[in-house]
Amino acid sequence: MSSTPAPSTWSASRTRWLALLALVVAGAGFVLITAGGIGENLVYYWGPSELQAAGAKAYGATIRLGGQVAKGSVKHGQGSSLEFDVVDGAQKVRVRTTSVPPQMFREGIGVVVEGTMTQAGYFESQRLLVSHGNEYRAPGDGETVDAEKAIRSTKGLEDVEGTQAP
């Protein structure tokens, strides 16, 4: 249906080489972008000990910190601001958050907070999750919460930060 003259025929081998070259270039570029994208958006799953051990590496990275809310550390501030310590038996990290705590939030419970470590020495969090255990019982007194288990239990319970209207 087209009135244009027959196209100049490309030799099969030339087409193939060009296609191969284009594919290699596109593939390499894509791999670079992907690797960069992943590298910048990793979320580390750490307990307080791992967070302290990471030292300067912890600043700026997105971290999902799991552990137990230390007894007697919860302090409600103005509005919905909240402070508490997350402990794992060996280390503790001070957490500040403005998110509204979930129903089960209280001292001694396993929590996972997502956010970043600040230079000022506290963990700034926008998300606060209570770990969902599969166990069908309340934790006994003096029982410690395994940080790794707590983090695992919230994996997949993703949340999305809604965009604030301008």
Binding site: I38, Y45, M104, G162
Partner: protein, 635 residues
């Protein structure tokens, strides 16, 4: 062909025994026979009967039994509909299906063992995971997902048989059309229903989080969609044979990989319930199937030579190629992001995940490009277009593109990617609706028919084409809805005292107090939130907290007020026991309803494509068409 007759009989026997096994399990669940290990594991006297039936697929062992049922129905159906067609080819396809069936039977009888008897049965069980009892959608979503997921075994068998017999023409493409479309349509609807369930139940206000479980269902959908398009090009031009077959094989492998990821407990998420020997067994099957596919492709390379050629040109052909490239890139992106944390954990022992921004950053440009291409491709002619043709085809849709963008700007959209998506969405909408409308208009003019007669005439004669564009129309709507709803929402998270009011956009929300509810399988505390918009009283929204006997933590259920414009979405983070205050998460999510509507359109398009086209029927009745010719007629 005695062999073929026996293969068919085996397929029917497999289907029948799977139906029987599943009915038996449903009976045990309804009878609360706790001497059956699976019933003891998920059954409960406290749950209503519909929950008892749904428990069939609520946990690992039962879901594998249910997989067997769906596979049985598929194999039985595909064998029956092709019983007197393609006698050289079908026995091989059926053989491959039955090999898969044998593996899943082994999985049921070996590692899963849902029918294991318990010597001292308990008097009652814990019931299924409360999250799965929380919404009626859980009754529909898993069976549809299985119908999509398991159904990909059928195209896999067809592709493997095509390679084994070297019959990559009519024998392969004709059954493929039906048996790729059917699971694809199920999978499409199931993926979105899963999102809908998350939206209605989980309470964080979104429907998609790039969760590994969601990705597991999305990956085969991407490759299957790509396979559709490359199969079309293969049918028309005799090219991309190896590519099409590879996409179909990959689709199947991705369903098995997805099953492994979600069913072995490697990701601990809502959907993966436990750890067991089932995971490693599936992994071995995945490895074996991959080896089979690679080996098959390697040894049959000589049969995959193209019959025709493609010229580099601005044409629909090129658009198809680009489409495939983009789908495969998206598949890789999602696959890498999903598997990366697993690889790191396995090799270095550190736990991490790939954050949402990675997926968004990669998927948004590809998605927008696909949206645009969905408009450009169909606008262009096959082969080679002249400059004039190109101008005539590509310029007019800019009108709707401009209108969509302007409407977005008027509505206050400022997010650059959303505006780009609206532009491309408008462009593609005009092309798609034009392709749907033009044949109808032509027919009305030519035959002097009414609108109804013309529509039915067109969809009867060119059903595949109409179905394709209907799916495209749904896809445009879905992508625009996703773009707008994920960028233009408003959200607030506050602790509200009784009597206190919160303003969100045009709404005023007043917390009025709580009610206690007692239901057979749970207790609930309901927060009464009065909704006003300006002077208008819009009644109560009642987000709630549900308490299950078997679970320490309560599970919130959000309350949603939907309209075509936006959803008002309320969920409670905490409720004070005396009802003095609640932690309220309130959101306005624009255009979400359109995503559900779009999915309905896509599903209907898929179903329409499954009905046989009248013209093909007529041609088949006159004479058996030569390979390729009969297929051409359908376009």
């Amino acid at each position: 062909m005695a062999g073929w007759a026996w293969t068919r009989r085996l397929a029917y026997v497999y289907a029948a025994s799977m139906i029987a096994a599943n009915l038996l399990m449903v009976y045990a669940l309804l009878a609360r026979d706790f001497s059956v290990s699976y019933v003891a594991h998920v059954g409960s006297r406290a749950v209503p009967n519909w929950v008892a039936v749904v428990s069939l697929w609520s946990s690992l062992e039962g879901s594998i039994l249910f997989w067997g049922l769906v596979l049985g129905l598929y194999i039985g159906g595909a064998t029956y509909t092709n019983r007197d067609r393609h006698p050289e080819y079908m026995p091989w396809a059926t053989g491959v299906w039955l090999a898969c069936a044998a593996f899943f039977s082994f999985l049921v009888a070996g590692p899963a063992q849902p029918f294991l008897t318990i010597p001292s049965p308990p008097t009652d069980g814990p019931g299924p995971n409360p999250l799965l009892q929380n919404h009626l959608l859980m009754v529909i979503h898993p069976p549809l997902l299985y119908a999509g997921y398991v159904g990909m075994t059928i195209p896999f068998g067809l592709a493997a048989a095509a390679l084994l017999t070297g019959r990559l023409g009519h024998d392969f493409l004709r059954p493929l059309r039906t048996w790729l479309m059917l699971p694809w349509a199920f999978l499409t609807v199931a993926i979105v229903l899963g999102g809908w369930w998350a939206y209605e139940v989980l309470g964080w206000g979104g429907y998609w989080a790039w969760d590994p479980v969601e990705n597991a269902s999305f990956l085969p959908w991407l490759t299957a969609t790509a396979a559709f398009h490359s199969a079309l090009l293969m049918e028309r031009k005799g090219v991309l044979k190896g590519w099409t077959v590879t996409l179909i094989l990959a689709t199947f492998l991705l369903t098995i990989l997805g099953t492994f990821m979600t069913r072995s407990g490697v990701f601990n998420s809502v959907h993966s319930f436990t750890q067991s020997a089932i995971g490693p067994t599936i992994l071995v099957f995945l490895a074996a199937a991959t080896l089979f596919c690679v080996g098959l492709l390697a040894t049959r390379v000589d049969r995959l030579a193209p019959e025709g050629g493609l010229e580099p040109s601005v044409s629909r052909d090129t658009a198809f190629l680009l489409n495939n490239l983009l789908f495969v890139l998206l598949t890789f992106t999602v696959l890498v992001g999903t598997v990366f944390p697993l690889v790191v954990e396995a090799t270095r022992g550190t736990q991490m995940s790939v954050g949402r921004p990675y997926f968004d950053r990669m998927a948004v440009p590809i998605g927008v490009a696909l949206l645009f291409l969905m408009g450009i491709g169909p606008a262009l002619p096959w082969g080679r277009a002249s400059r004039v043709q190109m101008r005539q085809a590509l310029l007019p849709p800019l009108a709707a593109a401009g209108v969509f963008t302007a409407l977005g700007l008027l509505a206050g959209v400022r997010h650059p990617w959303t505006l780009v998506a609206l532009f491309c969405g408008g462009y593609t909408a005009q092309v798609t609706l034009g392709e749907l409308w033009l044949p109808v208009a032509r027919r009305m003019r030519a035959h002097g028919e009414g609108l109804g007669a013309a529509v039915s005439g067109v969809q009867g004669r060119a059903r595949r084409r109409v179905a394709g564009y209907l799916v495209h129309a749904g896809a445009v709507l879905a992508l625009v809805a996703v773009a707008v709803s994920s960028t233009e929402g408003i959200t607030t998270e506050v602790q509200v005292a009784r009597g206190e009011a919160v303003t969100l956009g045009p709404y005023t929300l007043t917390f009025q107090g709580v009610d206690q509810l007692s239901e057979p399988h749970r207790e609930a505390v309901v927060a009464n939130v009065a909704v006003r918009r300006g002077d208008r009283d819009l009644g109560l929204l009642q987000p709630r907290m549900n308490y299950y006997a078997s679970q320490r933590e309560p599970i919130g259920t959000p309350a949603v007020r939907s309209s075509l414009r936006h959803d008002l979405y309320l969920s409670v983070l905490n409720i004070d026991p005396e009802g003095r205050s609640i932690g309220l998460h309130a959101m306005i999510n624009p255009m979400v309803v359109w995503l559900w509507i779009a999915t309905l359109v896509m599903g209907l398009g898929g179903l329409l494509g499954l009905l046989p086209s009248r013209r093909v029927h007529a041609a088949a009745a006159l004479a058996a068409p030569p390979a390729g010719e009969g297929l051409e007629a359908a376009r």
